[in-house]
Symmetry: C2
Subunit: 199 residues, 2 copies
Amino acid sequence: MTETAAPRRSRITPEREAELYAAVLDLLREVGYDALTMDAVAARTRSSKATLYRQWGGKPELVVKAMRSQQPGGIADIDTGSLRGDLHAIIMREDDCAMEQNAALMRALSMAIQANGDLRQAFKELLVEPEVVEFSRILRRAIDRGEVRSDNPALSYMVHMLVGAFATRTLIDDLPPTREFLASYIDAVVLPALGVSPR
Amino acid sequence: MTETAAPRRSRITPEREAELYAAVLDLLREVGYDALTMDAVAARTRSSKATLYRQWGGKPELVVKAMRSQQPGGIADIDTGSLRGDLHAIIMREDDCAMEQNAALMRALSMAIQANGDLRQAFKELLVEPEVVEFSRILRRAIDRGEVRSDNPALSYMVHMLVGAFATRTLIDDLPPTREFLASYIDAVVLPALGVSPR
C-alpha cells in the first residue's frame, strides 16, 4: 500500500491506465476476484507482471483502484449551499446505467472482501476512507450553517445509510438502484435522521 | 414454489429437516451456491434426490429454507407497547455470534442471488416477504398508537434501513454487526427517520 500516496509513475499514461483498469474489471466480471490472476491481467493487456506489481503493488490494490476509476468522483466540487442540495447533487453525478454497473461490480467483490484481509484493507484505504472524508466535508458545512447539530448521532452513519440503500435495493426489491430511488431515500431517511427537513 | 403453502409432509421429521438444513448450509459455506448440487446434498445426508425434490421443489427453495431455518423467528410474538421497544426486542432475539454467522451466510449467497433469477425469487418469497409482513404489523401498531404518521415516507424503507446497516457494518467498518451496533443504528437513524424520539 506504499504506492497510495506516491505520484503517478510517468511510464504509464492515463489512457494506458484506463485500458488496464477496463481489462481488470472485465476479468472481475468474467471470473470473479479469487480466480483473477496478475498473469491474466498481464496477458490480456500485453503488460509485464513486473510493471503491474511495480505500479500497483499487488492484486488487491489493482482491483480496488480499477473499481475506484469507475466512481464518478467530483464530490469535492459540490457546494450547493444546503445539505439536501449537496446530497442530491452527489447522486446526480452518475446516470442509472453506470450506477447499476457499479452495483454489480460491488456485488461481484463483496464476498471476496469478506474472505480476504488484503483486499478488505485496500478497499477500506482506497475506496471507503476517501469517501468518508468527502462526506465529512459536506456534513461539516451543514453543521457550520446550523442545519445539523454537531452531536447528531446519525452523523456517524452517513455512509452506512447511503451504501445500505444502494446495496439492499436489488436484494429487497429486485430493482436496480436508481437516482430516483436514492433521492427518495435521502428525503425519507437520511435527512430526517440528521434532523433536516427534506422540503 | 408450489410447495410453499403446502403443509409439511409427514415423511420428514423436524429433526431430520434440521439435519438436512445444516448439511445444506455447510455445503453452502464450503463450495458456494453455484457449485452446490442436489447430488451432494443427497450424498451427505444419505437421502434420495427424489425426496429432496418432492419435499422442497428444487435447489433455490431448499437453500433459502435452510437459511430461513437459521433466522431467530418470533417477531410475531413481540409487542412491547412502543416502537422502540419492539425494534430493540427484534435485534435481541439473536446473540452476536449467531448474527455474525447469518451475515456470513448472506454474503456467501448475495452474488448468487443477483446472478440467479430462481434463487432471487425464492429468496424474495420465502425470506424477504415474510419479514416485510412481520415488520408491517409492528409499524401498523406504532401508527395506531399515534407514534408514527401513516404517511411517513420512511415506512417504505424499514427493511432497507435495517438490512442496509446489517450488510454495510463489515464492509465499511471491518467489524461484525452486533446487537449493540444495531441498537445504536435504530436510535440514531431508524426512529428519527420515522419521526419517533429515541429517548
